[in-house]
Amino acid sequence: MSAATAGWGTQLDQVTRRWVTDAIRQPWGLGVAIVQPVIWIVLFGNVFQSVAQVPGFGHDDYLTFLVPGILMMTVLYSGAWAGTGFIEDIRSGVMDRLLSSPVSRSALVLGQLVQQLMICVVQGVMVLAIGALAGAHYSGGAVGMAVALGASVLLAAAFCSVSAAVALLARDQTALIGISTIVVLPATFVSTALMPAQLLPDWVATAAKLNPLTWATSVAQTAMSPDVDWGLVATRSLWLTALAAAVAWWSLRAMRSYQRSL
């Protein structure tokens, strides 16, 4: 009597557990993931303090404006490396073992994504806590913070899937370095994460409207502000959900493409 195969839920659970355990056993990685946003809040918060005095800034203080942006930047900068685990698995042979066992390809891809999203939530809570300690005001209360974290999870789902897909297609760590420098850095500045749209040059403001980082930042900014624009929250969340679904599907295709290359 040979064992058959586990249900999809069990598979997803096991794959997720594996990645979570891996993450916990690499405390340096986790530590960096948490320290990075702290540095940004302190650094940007101080360097750009005077921006709040610029006419047309439209917010009371820069720090309160900045926290949602930092929240989303954190997602982007750690998400760029989400595919690393797959490259390591391909290199070591773990991937071959898993693919030759009765495990659903979608569970392998999504289990890793779930772990990334869990890390994203931990980071997000840290960012909000540190922002509060530094003096940011979250007028939207608990609901506003929850909505902001939700937006960061949607952005993470999209971006970690991009990293996973690129990792599975390129199978090379340097490709991920490429994402982080060529995509993430410009995306940060062509967005409203650090600067409100009205202070950006016209072409940048136009491009920023198409940037998912801007969508997620606007959701978090309005959700944590005194008067929430729920219409904005709804539309941008919808766009982010659609994007995340599309990219997650691409990452599943990438897993199949990896196998075809064997």
């Binding site: 040979s2 064992a3 070591s92 042979g93 773990v94 071959d96 073992r97 030759s100 066992s101 064997l262």
Partner: protein, 332 residues
């Protein structure tokens, strides 16, 4: 269920060469039959197609053409059914280095549908059986090469497979660990109904472990049979003469002219060389061979006569690839 655990017919696998180079034909019509319950060795030089064969049979890789059944299931049409019935130990490590051996085993068991308690029991059983209880709860990264390889094999056995694929299980192990791994594989082969397909480029390993052997070269099976059958195809003895700074062409000409000396191979590596030839009666030909070499001015070292070994079978069928084509040439 059919009596054959593995049936592969005319497998072809080509990989794109890339950048205008021609396609690489890793498998070129490979046919293989392995009876259930046996250990079968795929023997061949690096790049012969052993690993590609394993990848096709374990459903990792899709053949360009041809067909194969493993444990009664079609690898192309029913890959899921094949995966439930096999275990695969790749050349790399199959274990997550950040997990402990026990955690790796439990996870593999859970993924194969065992419940929490059953998975723990299965892990404990395998830890016990492979004798690494004292390392079972340490990080896998801290294990020695031999123990790590045992863990890989244990991971392959978690699902109680019908067919276990071992891709170069002892490459990189020290002699002691290799001997221990051989014991394990022999023990596995004693278990009922488990079929093992083993790839190796160690002749001794194949000779000791395999019930049946297929010698693979350039993507095809060039010879198959039991180790004894294969050796029996070579009648007579092997005569080996170590050479000092030989002129390969000269040696080949001189030795080829000695009556009774067949299939002369000259292998040169740096200043040293070796003459290997087949002969119906080795002891009788030592004298004439040495005399011929000396009269031609060829300096030599030790001379040996041996019964056919798997080495000789291998050399005969895959000799061109055994070393580079420039150093070995067959004079028939």
């Amino acid at each position: 269920m059919s009596a054959s655990a593995i049936e592969a017919h005319d497998l072809v696998k080509t990989y794109p060469g890339g950048r205008g180079r021609p396609d690489v034909r890793a498998l070129d019509g490979l046919t293989l039959t392995v009876p259930a319950g046996t250990v079968h060795g795929l023997l061949g030089p690096n790049g012969a197609g052993k690993s590609t064969t394993t990848k096709v049979l374990t459903t990792l890789s899709t053949p360009t053409s041809g067909a194969a059944r493993v444990a009664g299931q079609d690898v192309i049409r029913e890959p899921g059914q094949v995966r439930r019935r096999i275990g695969y130990v790749s050349q790399g490590t199959g274990a997550d280095q950040l997990l402990t051996p026990r955690e790796n085993l439990v996870m593999a068991a859970r993924l194969r549908g065992l419940g929490r308690a059953a998975a723990s029991a299965r892990a404990a059983e395998l830890v016990d059986r492979f004798g690494f209880a004292e390392y079972a709860d340490r990080g896998a990264a801290t294990l020695s090469g031999g123990t790590r390889r045992k863990l890989d094999v244990a991971l392959g056995l978690v699902g109680s497979p019908h067919v276990l694929f071992l891709d170069e299980p002892t490459t990189g192990l020290d002699p002691e660990a290799r001997a221990a791994m051989w014991d394990e594989i022999r023990r596995l082969s004693g278990e009922d109904a488990l079929t093992v397909l083993l790839t190796t480029h160690y002749l001794e390993e194949a000779d000791r472990l395999a019930d049946g052997l297929s010698i693979v070269d350039r993507g095809r099976v060039v010879a198959a049979g039991t180790p004894d059958e294969l050796k029996a195809t070579l009648r007579g003895d092997t005569l080996t003469v170590d050479l000092v700074e030989p002129d390969a062409d000269l040696v080949r000409r001189v030795a080829g002219a000695v009556p009774g000396l067949d299939e002369v191979l000259v292998h040169v590596e740096g200043p040293a060389g070796r003459l290997v030839a087949r002969t119906p009666d080795g002891p009788m030909l030592v004298g004439p061979t040495i005399a011929a070499l000396q009269s031609a001015g060829v300096r030599h070292g030790a001379v040996a006569v041996s019964r056919p070994t798997l080495d000789d079978v291998y050399l005969r069928h895959a000799g061109r690839s055994w070393t580079s084509a420039e150093t070995v040439e067959v004079a028939r």
